[in-house]
């Protein structure tokens, strides 16, 4: 459902996606489809233990196997310092962390950590060679939980890591598994709680979960004899990949070209490098292209899920429900290297609500598990699970409608978050009101063992740099060249914004995602920035075209450029001619004349606008709990979201439905299960249970459109916030159905039965 009428011709319509035919007919090229002459196949030797010192690596037997061409280890990669960084959007990533994660040097820090890589003429030979690489370890006790890792007596995963205070930059004297401590404080928390008439304090835990993208990571590298390095891979960030490879391999950026292939899902998990530097080194050693593809088992064990968390939330309120104080403590597992999304959790945990007194502490904690990576609104879902579970209990205790309680406290324009920033134009209350007035919320839920839950979430969204080149073709179409890998329909939504600017049908813009040598710098496809920033770049390229086309028409007519105007209906008009009539020419007519009147025209833009606007989402879900099996069934789910302007509403709805589906899986089933030695026990889709279409009803969406005043078409990022509320919404619904509060996820059948059948086996 779309709630607003828009003054646009293209924006807000639902054209067929430009990449659709290739994808549904199997013609689209993914990384695994790459075939090059003389290509070799690489595989990775991985650690079978979660924590240990590497005493010896002997690859001689592997190298003697017929067909094996090369073996590499960390010794083939430059050693990087802790304070050497590579850019990732507005953030900088430690090259020591990146390098240490792609290949273990002195220690293995998690089961599945790469220790060597081999390439051979045949993938089966490469696999056989893995068993011939001998690695001797000195096994160390693993640290598997953040609370245990924070103890002074815990084994150290990194003996040189000292806790760093975010704000001051100061490091603790003693080494620790706690990489970073964040504090955000506003008002007087003590006085706020003293003023409260009801105080609730609860603790929550979530497990490590994976993004679960369908396509495993892959990379093909060819290190040419002239030093040029070609990479073909599945990535959300071609330019970031190029820059990170330059840092890791100490190879000039100008010598590296990254060509993105179609991508079968990423959700944040395909930003980091894994295989690319390994394939590059193996190619350098052999002089041949080397292709590497992960198995599903490797994707689970050796790529980046999101953090397991432990969060304590304390809320203080007046009897009428007015929140007066909040305290949060967030402990996020970073995996084996620093860099959990706890800072984002700190930023998001209370931000949907106006709370005058707040203190939030966050801890980034190393454990012997895979290094976590971003996952759709990184850090916000677990934080929302904690806060909105307590909000639900608060509503229950105060006998208030849960939406009314949230509306009473909803942040509005001018409300400050704990870091001092004040909101601009936001659709926070609008989302709550959209659910409050929805047919779903107004319906009566009947039947035993059923319950309804709501939750409300926030995500801040990003801007960053994007480029776009737009070439006018003689047939009146426009070739649009982009640098953002398309993980969620951004080719279409960016092309539509250019079409709107030019006043031509969407189908007349032909978008293409190209390599790093063929378009200007474009930052990561992530942070819900791509339709915002890519669309803005396309709009500016369109304005450039309008100006050039008007100038060309003026030249043809022999008048001054200032006398000619490009109208929004794609007709260029000029002053009256000798016959007294207004001169005019359509975009298509002029396109056909370009070659003979001075040449074809290219519009260009390199945009970097910092006016991305935050977004909010309110969800309501009905569940039924089977008291005999403990299974939770989702009966009905409605998600309302402030989407700014819905450029292509079908894609926006798809993003919301996808985010909800992943959130439901996180709430009910998904978890990394480890044995006591830190070995993952469920590294397959059979045992790692993600929801399928059979597990979910049609997810209803309400697109609340509060345009972002900082974007020419009012765009707000839409892809991440839909995964924020589902965890809490489902937990609150299960509470309503069973009377039990679930403070730990997943709410699996076993966890439900444990509550429903106390004391029974």
């Amino acid at each position: 459902m779309v709630t607003a009428e828009k003054p646009y011709k293209v924006v807000g319509t639902r054209p067929i996606r430009p990449d659709g035919t290739d994808k549904v007919t199997g013609r689209a090229n993914y990384g695994a489809d790459i075939r090059l002459p003389g290509m070799l196949y690489g595989r990775v030797k991985r650690s079978p233990i979660a924590h240990g010192k590497i005493k010896r690596i002997d690859a001689s037997k592997a190298l003697a196997l017929p067909g094996v061409r090369a073996v590499m280890t960390a010794e083939d990669l430059p050693r990087k310092g802790r304070r050497e960084f590579a850019p990732l959007g507005s953030v900088k990533i430690s090259l020591a962390t990146l390098s240490g994660n792609v290949m273990a040097r002195d220690k293995v820090r998690y089961e599945g950590h790469a220790v060597a890589a081999v390439c051979a003429t045949d993938p089966h030979v490469a696999e056989d060679a893995l068993d011939l690489i001998e690695v001797e370890y000195e096994e160390l006790p693993p640290v598997l939980h953040a609370d245990e890792a924070m103890l002074a007596s815990a084994p150290l995963i990194d003996e040189e890591l000292h806790t760093r205070e975010m704000a001051t930059g100061e490091s603790a004297e003693e080494p620790s598994n706690v990489a970073m401590h964040f504090v955000t404080e506003m008002g007087d928390v003590e006085a706020g709680f003293a003023e409260a008439e009801i105080v609730l304090e609860r603790s929550f835990k979530t497990k490590m979960v994976h993004q679960g993208y369908i396509e495993p990571h892959n990379a093909t590298a060819f290190w040419r004899h002239d030093g040029g390095l070609e990479i073909w891979c599945s990535t959300q960030a071609t330019f970031v990949m190029r820059d990170h490879l330059a840092g890791l391999l100490e190879h000039p950026v100008s010598k590296i070209r990254v060509t993105p292939q179609e991508i079968g899902g990423g959700f944040g998990g395909k930003i980091s490098v894994y295989l690319e530097p390994l394939a590059a080194v193996l190619s350098r050693k052999t002089g041949k292209p080397v292709k590497m593809t992960l198995t599903r088992d490797e994707v689970f064990r050796a790529t980046g899920p999101t953090s397991g968390t432990a969060i304590r939330v304390k809320l203080g309120a007046k009897r009428d429900g007015t929140l007066v104080a909040a305290e949060g403590e967030l402990v996020y597992e970073a995996g084996a290297f620093p860099g959990s999304p706890v800072a984002a959790g700190v930023r998001c945990i209370f931000t949907a609500y106006a709370i005058p007194n707040q203190r939030i502490d966050g801890y980034d904690v190393l454990v012997n598990k895979p290094k976590v990576q971003p996952y759709r609104a990184p850090g916000a879902s677990a934080a929302c699970f904690a806060t909105d579970s307590v909000m639900d209990e608060l509503a229950e205790r105060l006998d208030l409608d849960p939406i009314a309680l949230r509306l009473k406290n909803a942040a509005v324009e001018g409300t400050r978050s704990a870091d001092g920033a004040a909101f601009g134009v936001i659709g926070n209350r609008d989302c709550l009101q959209a659910i409050q007035s929805s047919p779903h919320y107004r319906s009566e839920l009947q039947g035993p063992n059923r319950g309804r839950g709501v939750a409300h979430g926030y995500w801040y969204n990003a801007g960053l740099e994007s480029s776009a080149y737009a070439s006018v073709n003689s047939d009146g179409t426009v070739a649009l060249v982009l640098g953002s890998p398309d993980i969620g329909g951004t080719r279409a939504s960016i092309a539509m914004q250019l079409a709107e600017t030019l006043g031509i049908p969407a189908e007349r813009v032909i978008p293409q995602v190209v390599d790093t040598d063929s378009v200007g710098f474009t930052s990561v496809t992530g942070g819900s920035r791509t339709a915002f920033a890519g669309g803005w770049a396309a709009h500016e390229a369109g304005l450039d075209l309008r100006q050039q086309l008007a100038a060309r028409a003026a030249k043809i007519w022999g008048v001054e450029a200032e006398q000619v105007r490009y109208r929004d209906d794609a007709v260029i008009v000029g002053p009256a001619g000798e016959d007294g009539g207004e001169r005019s020419i359509t975009f298509t007519e002029l396109a056909a004349k370009l070659a003979r009147t001075g040449g074809m025209i290219v519009g260009r833009a390199d945009s970097n606008h910092a006016s991305a606007a935050p977004t909010f989402a309110t969800h309501v879900v009905d569940v039924e709990v089977d008291p005999e099996t403990g299974k939770v069934e989702i009966l009905r789910y409605t998600a309302a979201q402030d989407v700014g302007t819905a450029i292509h509403p079908s894609y926006v709805e798809g993003q919301i439905q996808g985010g909800v589906s992943q959130g439901v899986g996180w709430a009910l089933n998904e978890e990394y299960r480890f044995d006591e030695k830190g070995r993952m026990e469920n590294a397959s889709f059979l045992d790692y249970r993600m929801p399928t279409a059979l597990d979910l009803p049609m997810i209803e969406t309400v697109l609340v459109e509060v345009p972002n005043p900082g974007h020419p078409y009012g765009v707000r990022g839409v892809g991440e916030v839909p995964i924020v509320p589902p965890l809490a919404a489902v937990a609150n619904a299960v509470h309503a159905a069973t009377g039990h509060r679930f403070t730990e996820l997943p709410i699996s059948p076993a966890a439900v039965l444990e509550k429903l059948l106390p004391g029974e086996e």
């Binding site: 507005s90 953030v91 704000a167 395909k270 999304p341 930023r347 920035r529």
Partner: protein
């Protein structure tokens, strides 16, 4: 004049104040003038000639792309926050 919000752990350097008003038309000038008001604070915010890799300076809640060259309009609010990234939607 800009209003700088001081994170809790840096307030000791600013006599316990949570906000400090300083002159400046770029973030570089703001940090320099903030250091005059809160001696030693610039060393906590900067590393070399740039903002520390794990920190970000926001102007009116927005982290821009120009680092210390970012323009600061009169009456702006400056926040000192962790540098954080997003994930992805598809």
């Amino acid at each position: 004049m800009a209003r700088v919000f001081i994170p809790a752990t840096l307030r000791a350097r600013c006599d316990g104040r949570s906000e400090v008003e300083v002159e400046g038309t770029t973030l570089r000038q703001i940090v320099e003038n903030l250091d005059a008001a809160c001696p030693g604070i610039a060393a906590r915010i900067l590393e070399g000639d740039a903002v520390r890799p794990d920190l970000a300076l926001a102007v009116n809640g927005v982290v821009g792309a120009e680092g210390l060259l970012e323009r600061v309009p009169d009456g702006a609010e400056i926040q000192i926050m962790p540098a954080i990234a997003g994930g992805g939607a598809g």
